[in-house]
Every structure is written in structure tokens, then in C-alpha cells.
């Protein structure tokens, strides 16, 4: 029943996905040496992403550290529709209070009691357990190398990593790196745009496209099948508390540095997902060619 409700809600939001935005926000990301195509993030419903390509700026001066080609600082404008901003802001504040009033104190207590190596091991265990989502996503993205890597990681970490508590696969000698991908990224690789921005209660920032991952995660994550249901919720809660204990301070830093934390989180989220999708496209055997010809394949706003 829960899954039907989730899917119904998801369908409604997908149907609304082409709604116009109501606010504009901009964030410029320039990382010379890291990203040859810095991204300009814009939340504006009235502009098309394709129109948002900013002409590359040519740098002058005597700085020899960087090669300022015309393409080096080409900026890509990504638009974020936020048609339900009042709802999103309400959910943002709800999640914010949930974090500061409940999650963070519990995580701090947990952090005080449990040493960091143990918490990292727990994190590794749950990450290993989520292998089916990543493996399936790699396969659907036609990233067979990534799928093989995930399969190898799962086997090695389960057998020699004590059920996934340790991560020998990431060691220098074996060097099978994590494939942090999901079904939302898979849709992004297929060319599906974000849709609009949405903040789910408890789950946090998302989009209709990335919300597919919530449903996929439910069905493909073994913890979802823990019986009885409250035991499963307990396990998930513990996973969240453990994960939070390893990230205390990150959210606070972002919040302190931002004039409007809501906008900062939104921009950060969209930028993060954009980079993830691009990285996944580059690995795909099928979609990376297409990616080269359509740089704005991950543009956020659907056309009305």
C-alpha cells in the first residue's frame, strides 16, 4: 500500500513536472582543472536551458597556472524549476528542525560512544548491502565495466571484508572503486531531466526524476525486507544515525555560509546531481556519444 501511495505521489509530481517556476537563483561554479565546463545554476522557469549557454570568458593577465582556452571557462546555465517553493521551504524547515532537534543530538551521542572506525565499518556494511541498486543502475546505464566493478566489490567485500564491514576493494592493490550511482542517475543518463525541485519530508532534496530512486531503493534494498516492519525501520534509522554521525558539521557549514540556506541547499543538490549524471554518462558505452552532442542533456527544466 505504501509503495502504491509513493508511486501515486510520484506520478502526480511527474505530471506537474512541467509547471513553471516562481523564483530565480543563480550559482556559478568554476573549478579550473577539475571541470572544463563550469556550470551556472539558475532557477528560472522562463528560460530554456539551451538558451542559457554563456559565452566563454577569456581571461587576461599573466597567470600561467591555467590554460585559458576558449572552452576552459565555458559556462553552462542550468535552470531549476521550483513551482512548489512554499511547500519545499516548509519541508526544508521541517527537515532542518528534525536534524537539529532529533537527529543531530542522537548522532552526537552515538558518536561519543562508538569510535569512528566502527562507525565507518557500519557505513561500509550498509553500502555493501545496497549493491543491487548500484549493480542494476550500472547495467541499465550500459556501464558494464562499472557493473563488473560493483560485482567484484560486492564479492570481495562480503567474503574478505567480513560481510562488508571492511572495504578491501578500495585498497590500492585491488583498486575497485565505488560506483555511487542510482536509478535517478540512470534516468538522467537516458536524458530525462530533473523536473522541478522538491523537498521530501525526512528524505530531503529531490526531484521527480530522482524520486524514482526512492521507490527503486525500497524494492532493491535488502533492509526493506526485514520483518517485522518496525525492525526494518529500526535498521534504517540506525543506518541514518550512523551516517549522520560521520557528517556532523557539513550541513552546518553550508548553512552558515549561505545567505539563504534553502537556496544554497537547492543549488548544491542540483549541481551535485548534474555532475553525477555527467560522470555516469561519460562511462556509458551507449550514451556517452550522445552526451557529446548534447551538452545540456541534463538540463533541469522540462519544456513547457
Amino acid at each position: 500500500m505504501k509503495s502504491y501511495l509513493s508511486l501515486t505521489v510520484l506520478f502526480v509530481f511527474l505530471a506537474m513536472g512541467c509547471a513553471s517556476g516562481q523564483r530565480t537563483s543563480t550559482a556559478v561554479v568554476t573549478q579550473p582543472g577539475h571541470d572544463p565546463n563550469p556550470v551556472l545554476l539558475v532557477a528560472d522557469s522562463g528560460q530554456q536551458a539551451a538558451d542559457a549557454q554563456v559565452k566563454p570568458k577569456t581571461q587576461s593577465g599573466n597567470d600561467d597556472n591555467f590554460n585559458y582556452d576558449d572552452d576552459t571557462f565555458k559556462e553552462e546555465r542550468i535552470e531549476i524549476a521550483d513551482p512548489i517553493e512554499p511547500f519545499n521551504r516548509a519541508m526544508y524547515h521541517f527537515n532542518d528542525k528534525l536534524y537539529f532537534w532529533a537527529l543531530k543530538p542522537v548522532a552526537q551521542g552515538y558518536k561519543f560512544v562508538v569510535p569512528e572506525p566502527a562507525r565507518i565499518s557500519v557505513k561500509n556494511f550498509f553500502f555493501n548491502l545496497a549493491f543491487p541498486v548500484r549493480f542494476l543502475s550500472c547495467m541499465l546505464q550500459a556501464d558494464f565495466n562499472g557493473a563488473a566493478t560493483e560485482f567484484g566489490r560486492f564479492g570481495i567485500n562480503t567474503i574478505w571484508g567480513i560481510g562488508g564491514l571492511l572495504d578491501p576493494s578500495s585498497n590500492k592493490e585491488i583498486d575497485l572503486q565505488k560506483q555511487e550511482t542510482d536509478l535517478g542517475q540512470t534516468l538522467g543518463v537516458y536524458g530525462v531531466g530533473h523536473g522541478f525541485y522538491i523537498v521530501w519530508p525526512v528524505l530531503g532534496p529531490s526531484s521527480p526524476r530522482d524520486s524514482v530512486d526512492i521507490a527503486g531503493d525500497y524494492f532493491l534494498y535488502p533492509v526493506s525486507y526485514v520483518y517485522p516492519w518496525y525492525a526494518g525501520i529500526g535498521v534504517r534509522s540506525y543506518e541514518i544515525i550512523n551516517g549522520t554521525s560521520l557528517r556532523i558539521g557539513d550541513y552546518e557549514s553550508l548553512q552558515e555560509a549561505a545567505i539563504d540556506p534553502y537556496v544554497a541547499v537547492r543549488d548544491f543538490y542540483i549541481q551535485y546531481r548534474l555532475k553525477k549524471v555527467k560522470a555516469r554518462k561519460a562511462r556509458s558505452l551507449i550514451f556517452k556519444v550522445e552526451d557529446a552532442s548534447s551538452p545540456a542533456a541534463d538540463k533541469a527544466l522540462p519544456n513547457n
Binding site: 567480513i162 571492511l166 585491488i174
Partner: protein
């Protein structure tokens, strides 16, 4: 006597090379292993005991000299001719005791002293406890009556200690051999008394006297930090196993 065994001997798992495969500065190594053990136990009659063990091991070692390890695995148990009746009026539907996978745990420690770059000598001790009972049922016919009897092997544990001599061959292959002693004990009980049969319902301690054995093996470095360990033991019967370990 219907079930005649008061002595049991179960060799338990690989001992491994005397020298740890962990990094010299200290670190973990983990293994997955399989061991097939065969042994005999004797009282009025000889019985053959077989066990397959599959286990996962975590070890911490340092300085190329010492290591402690924990093992968790599953093992089956088969005792040949265990249900063989010595009474002509009683027949049973089967002869062997057989039980499938049950959990066991092992703790061990080893120390090593390198005499030179090639030779070294070490000692080890390891103990194993089987957390679950091994149970099997047999149908006995006596005087035209059918009886179903359960035999339980409970609290099975063993301890092994020995010393090993190690030779480091080219390619860092470690060859080792040495003697060991072992002791094992369990409680055996039948849940039903059948008139005319010579057996006991009470828990009977089954154990072996200290039995000497010998073991030999090789630790072969593979690629990317993995090692293959193969080992054979001989006490009353031959046992052998292999493990693949990864050094962190």
C-alpha cells in the same frame, strides 16, 4: 551396547603458517576457508567421523611475529556406523549419524620466531566451540515395535596446540610442518530408552585422549594482497583444507 562411543576426535580447521601474513607494522587479514576432516574414535568399535567446515576468519598480526584470530563458520557432522545395533533383536533404518550445517566459532593465537631469513619456528593454540547441537533421528525396531530415537551431540569443543617449522621459499612461498596435540569433548545423549538395548539416556561425555598428529602446508602469495593457504593433517585419518586470505 547400542551406541558404543566414548571417544571422539575432531581435528578442527587449518592452523595456517606459523608466521602471520599481516603487515609488519600491524594490520588485519581476513580469510575464507574450507576444511575437510576425517578421524576415528574408538571404544567397543571404531567409528569414522567426517566433518566439512566452511568459515570466515579475521586475524590481527604484527611484526611478522604474532597473530590472533577469530573464526566463524558452519560445519556438518557425520559419524559412520553410529546407529549400528549390537543386539540381534533390534534393527535400525540407518547406520550413520548425519547432521547438516551448524555454527561454530574458533579463537586462536600464534607466535613466530625467525631464526634467519629462511627458517623460523612458531607455536600456536586454537580452540573451537560448536554453538548448536548436532541431532539425528533413527527408527529402531524391537519386538515388532517402532521407536524413533534422537541422538544429540552437544557442546562439542576442541583445543589444538602445536609448533611449526617454517621455510621461506622463493616467491615468498612459506612451507611449514610440525607436530600438534589435540583434545575434543562433547556430550552425547539419546532421548528414549528402548528395552533390551544397551545404551544410556544420560549425557555421556565423549572425548579423546590427547592424540598427537602432524600437519604440513604452504602459504602461497597470490596477486593483489591475496594468499592461498593449503594444509593437510594426519592423526588417525587424513584431513585437508584450503583458505584464501587477504592482507590489509
Amino acid at each position: 551396547m547400542f551406541f558404543a562411543f566414548n571417544t571422539v576426535a575432531i581435528a578442527s580447521g587449518l592452523f595456517g603458517s606459523p608466521q602471520t601474513v599481516s603487515r609488519e607494522s600491524g594490520g588485519l587479514n581476513t580469510s575464507i576457508g574450507y576444511f575437510y576432516s576425517e578421524d576415528t574414535f574408538k571404544n567397543d568399535t571404531d567409528h569414522l567421523i567426517r566433518q566439512n567446515q566452511v568459515y570466515s576468519q579475521v586475524a590481527y598480526g604484527a611484526q611478522n611475529m604474532w597473530e590472533i584470530y577469530v573464526r566463524l563458520g558452519v560445519a556438518d557432522l557425520k559419524i559412520s556406523d553410529c546407529f549400528n545395533s549390537t543386539n540381534v533383536l533390534t534393527t535400525t533404518n540407518k547406520l550413520d549419524f548425519e547432521e547438516n550445517w551448524k555454527f561454530f566459532g574458533t579463537l586462536g593465537a600464534k607466535g613466530f620466531y625467525p631464526i634467519n631469513k629462511i627458517f623460523g619456528i612458531g607455536a600456536f593454540i586454537q580452540g573451537t566451540y560448536h554453538f548448536s547441537n548436532y541431532t539425528d533421528s533413527v527408527v529402531a525396531i524391537n519386538g515388532g515395535n517402532l521407536y524413533t530415537v534422537d541422538l544429540k551431540i552437544k557442546n562439542l569443543w576442541d583445543v589444538n596446540a602445536g609448533m611449526g617449522f617454517q621455510l621461506t621459499a622463493p616467491l615468498d612461498i612459506k612451507l611449514y610442518a610440525g607436530p600438534y596435540v589435540y583434545y575434543s569433548e562433547a556430550k552425547a545423549s539419546l532421548d528414549t530408552y528402548i528395552t533390551g538395548l544397551e545404551y544410556t539416556e544420560r549425557n555421556v561425555s565423549i572425548r579423546n585422549k590427547s592424540i598427537f598428529g602432524g600437519f604440513a602446508g604452504a602459504d602461497i602469495p597470490l596477486l593483489k594482497g591475496f594468499h592461498l593457504n593449503i594444509e593437510g593433517k594426519y592423526a588417525d585419518r587424513f584431513s585437508a583444507g584450503a583458505a584464501v586470505s587477504y592482507t590489509y
